[in-house]
């Protein structure tokens, strides 16, 4: 059969729709936002095209850098926790008997069938001062009080005060981990599933224990899945604005909230655009370096 890439017409027919889609709904808007980021805000919130770096200078003011830094560490911590929870899950599914794999994967993606807003609000129901957890604790408290009353120790427990679990940075992290866990499990599962089991057996056969095999063989071979999953979770967590908005406290503002605010309430599109691109530039640079390294690796391989 002829290589379909050589047939120009076939190539265009297959690649056309996707190219068109990406161009019109992704590339053009991104370029527009990029152009805005050099613009100026009019007195009534209009966007005037200009060529000024004022927005960028504002974006790197300490108060904004603090928010960016906070987004990075909350995003980073969420990613790390996702990896900690997600790796055993992905491993478990990959090594489960075949007939269990699809049902287990379904369980992982099941939360996606519910709107993210509702899933986030659900945490308020769980963690709120009159939420599920506090009600449960309150009930336990009451029972203990009652039992101690029998033992002749009335009132030692005192009044039950609900725990303040909502509206702080920890709740934001809990929410982000919950929402993004599947984005880590799925690519990691895909990598682990393809992994030749004889690598693990070879490691055991050569005298390594289970832990040694995990860190010296399994983890390095799963690295593509780990990197993909972590990148996805980190980018999504860092840019998330719904979770910090609903579950966070007064000091939980993340870069996503700031950008959303600039585009909506503040009506300062140029500044919002500049803030967006402050995050985008490192991503572009990362991918550029990655592409360069891939090309070099391929050349080394071709020479060998």
């Amino acid at each position: 059969m002829e290589d379909w890439r050589k047939n120009k017409l076939a190539f265009m027919v297959f690649m056309g729709p996707a190219t068109f889609w990406l161009l019109v709904f992704f590339t053009i808007p991104v370029v527009a936002i990029w152009v805005y980021s050099f613009g100026e805000r009019g007195p009534l919130g209009q966007t005037y095209l200009a060529f000024s770096f004022d927005n960028y200078l504002r974006a790197i003011e300490p108060i904004h850098l603090k928010i960016l830094w906070k987004s990075i560490w909350i995003g980073g911590l969420s990613t790390f926790l996702c990896l900690l929870i997600g790796f055993p899950v992905a491993l478990g599914i990959a090594f489960a008997p075949d007939r269990w794999k699809n049902p287990l994967l379904l369980v992982v993606v099941l939360p996606f069938f519910t709107n993210m807003l509702i899933r986030t609000f659900a945490w308020i129901v769980v963690l709120g001062s009159r939420g599920v957890v506090n009600s449960g604790l309150g009930w336990l408290h009451g029972q203990a009080d009652w039992l101690l009353g029998f033992a002749g120790l009335p009132d030692v427990m005192g009044q039950f005060t609900p725990l303040e679990m909502l509206h702080n940075n920890y709740t934001v992290i809990v929410g982000l981990v919950y929402v993004h866990l599947p984005f880590l499990i799925l690519p990691l599962y895909a990598t682990l599933e393809k992994l030749d089991r004889s690598y693990l057996e070879a490691s055991l056969d050569l005298g390594a224990g289970q832990w040694r095999t995990f860190f010296s063989v399994l983890a390095p071979l799963a690295m593509p899945g780990i990197v993909t999953g972590c990148l996805l979770v980190f980018i999504l967590s860092m840019g998330n604005f719904l979770v910090p908005d609903r579950l966070g406290g007064t000091d939980s503002m993340m870069i996503g909230n700031l950008i959303a605010q600039e585009f909506s309430k503040a009506r300062d599109w140029p500044f919002g655009a500049a803030l967006s691109f402050v995050i985008m530039y490192p991503v572009f640079i990362f991918f550029a370096i990655n592409a360069l390294m891939m090309r070099r690796r391929e050349r080394v391989r071709a020479e060998a």
Binding site: L204, L206, V217, L221, A304
Partner: protein, 362 residues
């Protein structure tokens, strides 16, 4: 070697997966320094048996001892055996050197000792210059050598090889056979190899166990397997065979008279006891083709040539015989113009000396 204790002792081992019996009551002793082959068609349980020796599967019943130690409950990383995997399983994220050093590192061997032993193992498989390479810069044959070096560097009591040559091309496979035998002589370690290729087992092994659907059919040196198979299965699996159904008609003084279906009475030498329905068989290369009816003292059949397959050094002639069974006769093409030119449709006699008859009690 006869007085020595077996290095591997497999006694009445059975392995069930659900309600499938992969290995059924197998007993094998392997002697120290032996090159032992587990031979059989796919699904016969040979790989399962090897994996039980390595510790990746646990026997449902029976006992396995390696070097006198019972292996029940001993995990793979604690066993005095190492394995060369069918896929080689050379770690792709490590250099050749690190691959070979891995088994020493994880068991806490001193760093300066590791370097020396890895060098030694790599030179054993002629890969001295390749230590810094990554596995994706090696050919299939070189990767296999890495897998061999990685296992041998551990100085195991037994080296297990799972279909080691199946992924190599034909020429390389031939060379690797000799190479494996040479290696085994050099290191003096017991080799247990799993293979479905009878040529491989015959040319390399000191002894082989022929397996069929979880059962060992015969354990013997290669020549004995070929010349004295104990069953039709072994005769058919090891090389080609022409087989006729027969009935025992009488037996006296090392000779047996059999009534062959479609052929009449034939007398063949046979010592063992046999009765009722049996099979008599002959290897294709032990038959002779002739135009004239051969003289007395041979077993002869009339046939018509229906196909000739030419292999260069030899040809296989396929005949429809008067018994209704097709026979193959292998003739050597030892002259450029053969004395007997065989063409499809020729009427020929196929004959063999009675001593070449295999008597196969099912």
């Amino acid at each position: 070697m006869t007085d020595a204790k077996p290095i591997i002792s497999i006694r009445n081992v059975t392995k069930k997966f659900g309600n499938v019996t992969a290995v059924n009551n197998v007993s094998i002793d392997v002697m120290p320094g032996e090159f032992f082959a587990l031979l059989g068609p796919s699904g016969c349980g040979k790989t399962t048996l090897l994996r039980m020796l390595a510790g990746f599967e646990t026997a449902s019943d029976g006992e396995i001892e390696i070097d006198g130690q019972p292996m029940l409950g001993v995990s793979p990383n604690k066993r005095p055996v190492n394995m060369v995997f069918q896929s080689y399983a050379v770690f792709p994220h490590m250099s050749v050197f690190d691959n070979v050093a891995y088994g020493l590192k994880v068991t806490g061997v001193q760093k300066d000792e590791i370097a020396g032993r890895v060098e030694e193992a790599l030179s054993l498989v002629h890969l001295e210059e390749y230590g810094k390479r990554k596995p994706d810069q090696l050919s299939g044959g070189q990767r296999q050598r890495v897998a061999l070096a990685r296992a041998l560097v551990k100085k195991p009591k037994v080296l297990l090889l799972d279909e080691p040559l199946s992924a190599l091309d034909a020429k390389l496979r031939e060379a690797m056979r000799l190479e494996l035998v040479r290696l085994q002589h050099t290191v003096g370690i017991t080799f247990v190899i799993v293979t479905h290729d009878q040529d491989e087992a015959l040319s390399m092994a000191d002894r082989a166990a022929v397996m069929d659907r979880g059962v060992v059919r015969q354990i013997a040196p290669p020549d004995e397997l070929y010349e004295h198979p104990n069953s039709l299965f072994v005769a058919d699996f090891i090389g080609k065979v022409n087989m006729l159904e027969a009935k025992v008609a009488g037996q006296s003084g090392g000779e047996m008279v059999v009534e062959v279906k479609g052929m009449g009475r034939v007398t063949v030498p046979h010592d063992g006891a046999a009765s009722g329905d049996i099979g008599i068989a002959v290897r294709p290369e032990k038959t002779v083709l002739s135009v004239e009816k051969p003289g007395e003292g041979v077993v002869a059949l009339k046939g018509k040539v229906c196909d000739v397959a030419y292999y260069g050094s030899e040809s296989n002639v396929l005949l429809d015989t008067e018994t209704g069974v097709q026979f193959i006769s292998t003739i050597q093409n030892d002259a450029r113009h053969s004395a007997l030119s065989v063409a499809i449709g020729d009427d020929l006699w196929i004959s063999w000396a009675p001593g070449n008859t295999l008597v196969l009690a099912e």
